[in-house]
Amino acid sequence: MRNLFAVAVLTGIYSFLMASVMLVLDAPDVALTEASVGAGVGTVLLLGTLYLTKTDEARPIHSVALPLFVAVGTAAILIFGVTGTPPFGAADTPVQLAGPDYINRSLPETGIVNVVSSVLASYRGFDTLGETVVIFTAGIAILMLLKRATPPGAGRKD
Protein backbone atom coordinates (compact mmCIF):
# COMPACT_ATOMS: atom_id res chain seq x y z
CA MET A 1 0.00 0.00 0.00
CA ARG A 2 1.63 3.21 -1.17
CA ASN A 3 -1.01 5.69 0.01
CA LEU A 4 0.18 6.85 3.44
CA PHE A 5 -3.16 8.53 4.19
CA ALA A 6 -4.83 5.12 4.16
CA VAL A 7 -1.99 3.70 6.27
CA ALA A 8 -2.48 6.42 8.90
CA VAL A 9 -6.22 5.74 9.08
CA LEU A 10 -5.62 1.98 9.27
CA THR A 11 -3.15 2.53 12.13
CA GLY A 12 -5.87 4.40 14.01
CA ILE A 13 -8.37 1.62 13.39
CA TYR A 14 -5.80 -0.95 14.56
CA SER A 15 -5.26 1.04 17.77
CA PHE A 16 -8.98 1.14 18.35
CA LEU A 17 -9.22 -2.64 17.88
CA MET A 18 -6.35 -3.09 20.35
CA ALA A 19 -8.25 -0.87 22.80
CA SER A 20 -11.21 -3.25 22.46
CA VAL A 21 -8.89 -6.19 23.17
CA MET A 22 -7.62 -4.42 26.33
CA LEU A 23 -11.21 -3.90 27.43
CA VAL A 24 -11.98 -7.59 26.91
CA LEU A 25 -8.91 -8.38 29.06
CA ASP A 26 -10.43 -6.27 31.91
CA ALA A 27 -7.88 -3.45 31.62
CA PRO A 28 -10.05 -0.34 31.13
CA ASP A 29 -7.20 2.01 32.10
CA VAL A 30 -4.97 0.67 29.32
CA ALA A 31 -7.92 0.62 26.90
CA LEU A 32 -8.64 4.27 27.62
CA THR A 33 -4.99 5.16 27.05
CA GLU A 34 -4.77 3.16 23.82
CA ALA A 35 -7.99 4.66 22.45
CA SER A 36 -7.07 8.25 23.29
CA VAL A 37 -3.36 8.13 22.40
CA GLY A 38 -3.23 5.56 19.61
CA ALA A 39 -6.52 6.16 17.85
CA GLY A 40 -6.91 9.82 18.75
CA VAL A 41 -3.82 11.98 19.08
CA GLY A 42 -1.50 9.54 17.28
CA THR A 43 -3.63 9.55 14.14
CA VAL A 44 -3.89 13.34 14.20
CA LEU A 45 -0.09 13.67 14.48
CA LEU A 46 0.41 11.17 11.63
CA LEU A 47 -2.02 13.14 9.46
CA GLY A 48 -0.22 16.35 10.48
CA THR A 49 3.06 14.82 9.32
CA LEU A 50 1.45 13.81 6.03
CA TYR A 51 0.29 17.40 5.58
CA LEU A 52 3.93 18.51 5.77
CA THR A 53 5.20 15.84 3.38
CA LYS A 54 3.70 13.85 0.51
CA THR A 55 0.80 11.44 0.95
CA ASP A 56 2.32 8.77 -1.30
CA GLU A 57 5.28 6.64 -0.31
CA ALA A 58 8.28 6.88 -2.64
CA ARG A 59 9.44 3.77 -4.49
CA PRO A 60 12.23 2.04 -2.52
CA ILE A 61 15.71 2.43 -4.04
CA HIS A 62 17.20 -0.70 -2.49
CA SER A 63 15.98 -4.28 -2.48
CA VAL A 64 13.41 -5.22 0.18
CA ALA A 65 15.32 -8.40 1.08
CA LEU A 66 17.24 -6.96 4.07
CA PRO A 67 14.26 -5.18 5.74
CA LEU A 68 12.14 -8.29 5.15
CA PHE A 69 14.82 -10.46 6.77
CA VAL A 70 15.05 -8.11 9.79
CA ALA A 71 11.26 -8.05 10.20
CA VAL A 72 10.85 -11.82 9.88
CA GLY A 73 13.84 -12.43 12.16
CA THR A 74 12.49 -10.10 14.86
CA ALA A 75 9.08 -11.74 14.62
CA ALA A 76 10.66 -15.21 14.92
CA ILE A 77 12.63 -14.15 18.04
CA LEU A 78 9.52 -12.64 19.62
CA ILE A 79 7.39 -15.71 18.90
CA PHE A 80 10.18 -17.91 20.32
CA GLY A 81 10.13 -15.70 23.44
CA VAL A 82 6.36 -16.02 23.80
CA THR A 83 6.65 -19.81 23.93
CA GLY A 84 8.67 -19.41 27.15
CA THR A 85 5.99 -17.39 28.97
CA PRO A 86 3.50 -19.08 31.32
CA PRO A 87 0.08 -19.92 29.84
CA PHE A 88 -2.51 -17.15 29.78
CA GLY A 89 -4.14 -16.70 33.19
CA ALA A 90 -1.90 -19.21 34.98
CA ALA A 91 -2.37 -18.94 38.76
CA ASP A 92 1.28 -19.29 39.85
CA THR A 93 2.79 -16.32 37.98
CA PRO A 94 4.29 -13.33 39.87
CA VAL A 95 1.50 -11.12 38.50
CA GLN A 96 -1.17 -13.22 40.18
CA LEU A 97 0.83 -13.39 43.44
CA ALA A 98 1.48 -9.64 43.72
CA GLY A 99 -2.03 -8.63 42.67
CA PRO A 100 -3.99 -9.65 45.79
CA ASP A 101 -1.37 -7.97 47.98
CA TYR A 102 -1.96 -4.60 46.29
CA ILE A 103 -5.73 -5.11 46.26
CA ASN A 104 -5.73 -5.75 50.02
CA ARG A 105 -3.35 -2.91 50.87
CA SER A 106 -4.59 -0.16 48.55
CA LEU A 107 -7.79 0.91 50.31
CA PRO A 108 -6.56 0.88 53.95
CA GLU A 109 -3.20 2.48 53.11
CA THR A 110 -4.11 5.07 50.49
CA GLY A 111 -7.92 5.39 50.58
CA ILE A 112 -8.02 4.97 46.78
CA VAL A 113 -10.57 2.54 45.36
CA ASN A 114 -9.00 2.17 41.90
CA VAL A 115 -5.96 -0.01 42.56
CA VAL A 116 -4.44 0.89 39.19
CA SER A 117 -4.34 4.56 40.23
CA SER A 118 -2.80 3.88 43.63
CA VAL A 119 -0.16 1.54 42.19
CA LEU A 120 0.73 3.96 39.41
CA ALA A 121 0.85 7.14 41.44
CA SER A 122 1.84 5.96 44.92
CA TYR A 123 3.39 2.50 45.14
CA ARG A 124 5.26 2.92 41.89
CA GLY A 125 5.38 6.70 41.80
CA PHE A 126 9.00 6.67 40.70
CA ASP A 127 8.03 4.75 37.54
CA THR A 128 5.34 7.29 36.76
CA LEU A 129 7.76 10.15 37.39
CA GLY A 130 10.06 8.51 34.86
CA GLU A 131 7.22 8.24 32.34
CA THR A 132 6.35 11.89 32.82
CA VAL A 133 10.00 12.84 32.26
CA VAL A 134 9.99 10.71 29.08
CA ILE A 135 6.99 12.65 27.75
CA PHE A 136 8.65 15.92 28.76
CA THR A 137 11.85 14.89 26.96
CA ALA A 138 9.94 13.86 23.83
CA GLY A 139 8.07 17.15 23.87
CA ILE A 140 11.13 19.39 24.15
CA ALA A 141 13.00 17.26 21.58
CA ILE A 142 10.22 17.76 19.04
CA LEU A 143 10.03 21.46 19.86
CA MET A 144 13.79 21.80 19.36
CA LEU A 145 13.65 19.97 16.02
CA LEU A 146 10.56 21.58 14.54
CA LYS A 147 10.41 25.07 16.01
CA ARG A 148 13.96 26.12 15.16
CA ALA A 149 13.50 25.61 11.44
CA THR A 150 10.26 27.59 11.26
CA PRO A 151 10.75 30.62 8.99
CA PRO A 152 9.16 33.84 10.26
CA GLY A 153 5.53 34.15 9.22
CA ALA A 154 5.15 30.46 8.33
CA GLY A 155 2.46 29.94 10.97
CA ARG A 156 0.35 32.87 9.81
CA LYS A 157 -2.15 31.10 7.56
CA ASP A 158 -4.77 28.91 9.21
Binding site: P28, Y51, G125, T128, D158
Partner: protein, 139 residues
Protein backbone atom coordinates in the same frame (compact mmCIF):
# COMPACT_ATOMS: atom_id res chain seq x y z
CA UNK B 1 -12.28 23.60 6.99
CA UNK B 2 -13.38 27.15 7.74
CA UNK B 3 -16.46 27.00 5.53
CA UNK B 4 -17.84 23.67 6.70
CA UNK B 5 -20.89 24.73 8.72
CA UNK B 6 -21.86 21.31 10.03
CA UNK B 7 -18.38 20.56 11.36
CA UNK B 8 -18.10 23.99 12.98
CA UNK B 9 -21.48 23.78 14.73
CA UNK B 10 -21.09 20.16 15.86
CA UNK B 11 -17.59 20.93 17.16
CA UNK B 12 -18.97 23.75 19.30
CA UNK B 13 -21.51 21.34 20.76
CA UNK B 14 -18.98 18.58 21.43
CA UNK B 15 -16.09 20.62 22.86
CA UNK B 16 -17.55 21.40 26.33
CA UNK B 17 -18.51 17.75 26.82
CA UNK B 18 -15.03 16.62 25.80
CA UNK B 19 -13.45 19.02 28.29
CA UNK B 20 -15.81 17.91 31.08
CA UNK B 21 -15.04 14.28 30.23
CA UNK B 22 -11.32 15.05 30.50
CA UNK B 23 -11.87 16.59 33.93
CA UNK B 24 -14.04 13.61 34.93
CA UNK B 25 -11.31 11.16 33.90
CA UNK B 26 -8.80 13.29 35.83
CA UNK B 27 -10.67 13.77 39.10
CA UNK B 28 -12.59 10.49 39.12
CA UNK B 29 -9.42 8.48 38.45
CA UNK B 30 -9.37 7.38 42.10
CA UNK B 31 -12.66 5.54 41.62
CA UNK B 32 -12.84 4.52 37.96
CA UNK B 33 -10.57 3.97 35.00
CA UNK B 34 -8.38 6.91 34.12
CA UNK B 35 -5.86 9.30 35.55
CA UNK B 36 -3.62 12.17 34.63
CA UNK B 37 -2.24 10.62 31.46
CA UNK B 38 -5.57 9.74 29.86
CA UNK B 39 -7.20 12.98 30.97
CA UNK B 40 -4.27 14.99 29.62
CA UNK B 41 -4.57 13.35 26.22
CA UNK B 42 -8.33 13.96 26.10
CA UNK B 43 -7.89 17.61 27.10
CA UNK B 44 -5.20 18.00 24.44
CA UNK B 45 -7.52 16.36 21.89
CA UNK B 46 -10.09 19.05 22.71
CA UNK B 47 -7.62 21.82 21.84
CA UNK B 48 -6.42 19.93 18.75
CA UNK B 49 -9.99 19.45 17.50
CA UNK B 50 -10.64 23.16 17.97
CA UNK B 51 -7.44 23.97 16.08
CA UNK B 52 -8.36 21.57 13.24
CA UNK B 53 -11.79 23.10 12.72
CA UNK B 54 -11.26 26.78 13.55
CA UNK B 55 -7.62 27.15 12.57
CA UNK B 56 -4.34 27.23 14.43
CA UNK B 57 -4.45 30.92 15.25
CA UNK B 58 -7.90 30.66 16.87
CA UNK B 59 -6.62 27.86 19.09
CA UNK B 60 -3.51 29.86 19.98
CA UNK B 61 -5.71 32.74 21.11
CA UNK B 62 -7.26 30.39 23.71
CA UNK B 63 -4.14 28.44 24.67
CA UNK B 64 -1.06 30.40 23.67
CA UNK B 65 2.11 28.63 22.59
CA UNK B 66 4.04 30.32 25.41
CA UNK B 67 1.59 28.97 28.02
CA UNK B 68 1.84 25.47 26.56
CA UNK B 69 5.63 25.54 26.57
CA UNK B 70 5.65 26.76 30.17
CA UNK B 71 3.29 23.93 31.22
CA UNK B 72 5.54 21.19 29.79
CA UNK B 73 8.22 21.48 32.51
CA UNK B 74 5.73 22.74 35.14
CA UNK B 75 4.03 19.33 35.43
CA UNK B 76 7.33 17.52 35.91
CA UNK B 77 8.32 20.10 38.54
CA UNK B 78 5.04 19.56 40.43
CA UNK B 79 5.54 15.78 40.37
CA UNK B 80 9.17 15.97 41.48
CA UNK B 81 8.35 18.70 44.03
CA UNK B 82 5.70 16.56 45.73
CA UNK B 83 8.35 13.87 46.00
CA UNK B 84 10.79 16.31 47.59
CA UNK B 85 8.17 17.29 50.22
CA UNK B 86 8.04 13.68 51.41
CA UNK B 87 11.82 13.67 51.49
CA UNK B 88 12.06 16.90 53.54
CA UNK B 89 9.56 15.61 56.11
CA UNK B 90 11.74 12.61 56.87
CA UNK B 91 10.29 9.97 54.55
CA UNK B 92 11.45 8.41 51.30
CA UNK B 93 11.33 10.35 48.04
CA UNK B 94 7.76 10.22 46.62
CA UNK B 95 6.26 8.97 49.91
CA UNK B 96 3.16 11.11 50.38
CA UNK B 97 2.19 10.00 53.90
CA UNK B 98 3.18 13.29 55.57
CA UNK B 99 1.29 15.60 53.19
CA UNK B 100 -1.83 15.69 55.43
CA UNK B 101 -2.73 14.97 59.04
CA UNK B 102 -2.75 11.19 58.62
CA UNK B 103 -1.29 8.66 56.21
CA UNK B 104 -4.42 7.90 54.17
CA UNK B 105 -5.24 11.56 53.53
CA UNK B 106 -1.59 12.27 52.80
CA UNK B 107 -1.60 9.53 50.17
CA UNK B 108 -4.82 10.88 48.66
CA UNK B 109 -3.36 14.40 48.45
CA UNK B 110 -0.10 13.07 47.05
CA UNK B 111 -1.81 11.07 44.32
CA UNK B 112 -4.04 14.05 43.51
CA UNK B 113 -1.08 16.41 43.11
CA UNK B 114 1.01 13.89 41.20
CA UNK B 115 -1.85 13.19 38.79
CA UNK B 116 -2.27 16.94 38.33
CA UNK B 117 1.42 17.16 37.40
CA UNK B 118 1.05 14.31 34.90
CA UNK B 119 -2.06 15.98 33.45
CA UNK B 120 -0.26 19.32 32.96
CA UNK B 121 2.79 17.79 31.29
CA UNK B 122 0.92 15.33 29.06
CA UNK B 123 -1.76 17.74 27.84
CA UNK B 124 0.70 20.55 27.15
CA UNK B 125 3.19 18.24 25.43
CA UNK B 126 0.53 16.87 23.09
CA UNK B 127 -0.67 20.39 22.23
CA UNK B 128 2.92 21.62 21.84
CA UNK B 129 3.73 18.78 19.43
CA UNK B 130 0.59 19.55 17.44
CA UNK B 131 1.41 23.27 17.35
CA UNK B 132 4.94 22.46 16.20
CA UNK B 133 3.65 20.26 13.36
CA UNK B 134 0.77 22.48 12.32
CA UNK B 135 2.75 25.72 12.63
CA UNK B 136 5.24 24.80 9.92
CA UNK B 137 2.82 24.89 7.03
CA UNK B 138 3.27 23.18 3.69
CA UNK B 139 6.28 24.24 1.66
Amino acid sequence: MRLDVILRVVTKFILPFMMVFALYVQFHGDYSAGGGFQAGVIAAATIILYALIYGLNAAKRIVSAALVEAMVPLGVLIFAGVGVVGWLTGLNYLDYSNLAYDQVHGQEWGVFLVEAGVFITVSSTMVAIFYAFAGRGRR
